[in-house]
Amino acid sequence: MIDTGMAGAERLDRRMVTMTALLTGTIVVVGAVVASSAMISSGTPAWVTTLAVFGGALAVLGLSVGAEYIRWRATTFRLTEARLELRFSFVLNRRRSLARDRIRTVDVTAHPLHRLFGLAAVVIGTGQHGESGEAELKLDPVSAERARELRVELLRHAAGTERPTDEGTLAVLDWQWAAYAPLSVLTPALGAAALGAAGNVASWFGGTEDVTGAVVSDLLVAAALFGYATVAVGVLLAGAVGATLLFVEMWWGYHLDREPGGTLHVRRGLLTTRSISLEERRLRGAELVEPLGVRLARAGRVDAIATGMRNGGTQGKRADPKTLLPAAPRNVTLRVVADVLREPDVAATLTGLTSHPRAARSRRLRWALAPVLLAFAALLTAWLVWGDAIAAAVGPAFAGMVGAVPVVFAVIAVPAVVLLALDAYRNLGHGLSGGYLIARRGAVRRSTALLQRGGVIGWTVRQSVFQRRAGLVTLVATTAAGSGGYAVPDVDAAEGIAFADEAVPGLLTEFVERD
């Protein structure tokens, strides 16, 4: 018999066994059909087929259900005044526990099968940058109701007493935001992936040997028939549909709330529902992220800068837990940032950031043009040296175009990178708003980090010889949260040091010289 050994211990939800039975059962039935049709078609006697398929199906089903039953019997957890304990005792004995006052995150996830049975998985974390897996416990699954209770119970304890307790909804989903989804960089990739998948499915029936080759050749035939533009538009359309569907799955029913005790709570998801809680004590700021396409549509998303936030974490990459608001119009974004940070003047400060010296612009132009010019030189050399050979290889129809390649490349690439460089320079900015330090940078992905001045736990000042000649420095504010450091690149040397000194009073003062 398995001894639980803990008074007041709970088990995971028993329905997990039924759930596994159903899941494995479905797979086994499908497998059995495929296997028996294959065996019969290859001339195996019917009774052998029946015996083998039934035996195999029963063995697989029995093993997986048995294993799940043992996991259910062997796993117990207990919530005491001080600790949350999780114990697994079957053959070996494993016991893990978390101090309740160190619990910082309680994330609840329910995938479709969970939801069919009214179950959910709960991941409880301490928010420490520990060894992976050491800092969190997973209860998978408990009943959806128990998951909700656990979340409230564990976080109430964590919230303590002396916290501001204004609560309410900060943002809910507006379906117009779905329009920003296709602007993501994912769109072409998703389109290509959809195409690849279609090719794969086709190959199951058609029996094509080389799937990728077949897809590519089909594409080329299609391109010849309908023109490259049409095919490109088709791929992009498929990608846009994919991106929108992904958005719907991830952000359906999105709510951002502030709960009593100051916990930010994000709920979202259509098929897989997710509930992500972020204690405000862990919040060190917010990052306004505007990828180029989304920024051109005057929108942006909001990420939390919080300590102990795993990147992707246990929920996989798609359900990035640090995103507080999906791409939304700028006024919504600014309002949410202001509400989350409790800093009403953020919008005004963001329009009046201190810009960086013109030397920073020259540096950006140089960085952008150097690789393009190198590539142009390489193309030109290739044309001069092997031009005739290439022309002969591509055939008479395209031979005339070979010499045009370097020129076309330069005509397209130079203006593009110059525009990006100028945009990158325009986006450079820094400033202070109340309790927050603001650093903005980037063109393809413009990022505006709003970092609590109290959350800055050190400065790194970098200066290359080139920067020294141009009178620039790069400041990096280090912090326990988010990516660990937020840079203010190419700021005027004197002004930057003064800014760093002002932003975090006392830290730099004794090392600063003024003359």
Partner: protein
């Protein structure tokens, strides 16, 4: 801006024995190929010349670079912060406040033990905020680590 604001360099240099430490390490990297080439050089004068060239380059590098490094590596510990500066072409100054220090490590490699040197690494809660002072006198490093640990423990909070 009429006034210039800048960070002054940290006050202290590393222990002068660091010169020997760096030179030994360079020698350990350069010597094996030089010796190997020299032995093979008994077969071909070309290899011997190559060994000679490598030796000259190695000696030049080993004499000059450590002097250069010694000049540009500086550190300072005050009551409120740890401050280091390294590099010339890519100069990097790091400041970590005493109140946010999480761990203080002293490491002594085999060479450092021979030369009575030590490396002190001060980490904060930031993944990017570690401050490293490599090449202190061992006793001084131990005192410094003890002092930093004392101050750090006296500061409440989890330093995030």
């Amino acid at each position: 801006m009429a006034t210039t604001v800048r960070l002054r360099p940290p006050n202290n240099q590393l222990n002068p024995r660091s010169l020997l430490w760096w030179r030994t390490r360079i020698a350990l990297i350069v010597l094996p190929p030089v010796v190997a080439l020299a032995i093979l050089g008994t077969l071909s004068p070309l290899l011997l010349a190559l060994a000679g060239l490598l030796a000259v380059l190695g000696i030049g590098f080993g004499v000059l670079m450590p002097m250069w490094w010694y000049r540009v590596h500086r550190w300072e510990v005050t009551d409120t912060a740890v401050y280091t500066r390294t590099g010339y072409f890519w100069q990097e100054s790091r400041i970590a406040p005493m109140s946010r220090i999480q761990t203080v490590d002293t490491v002594r490699g085999p060479l450092q033990q021979l030369l009575r040197l030590a490396t002190v690494t001060v980490t904060t809660a930031s993944a990017k905020g570690a401050v490293r002072i490599a090449g202190l006198d061992a006793e001084q490093a131990a005192d410094l680590a003890a002092e930093l640990t004392r101050i750090t423990q006296a500061t409440p909070g989890d330093a995030t």
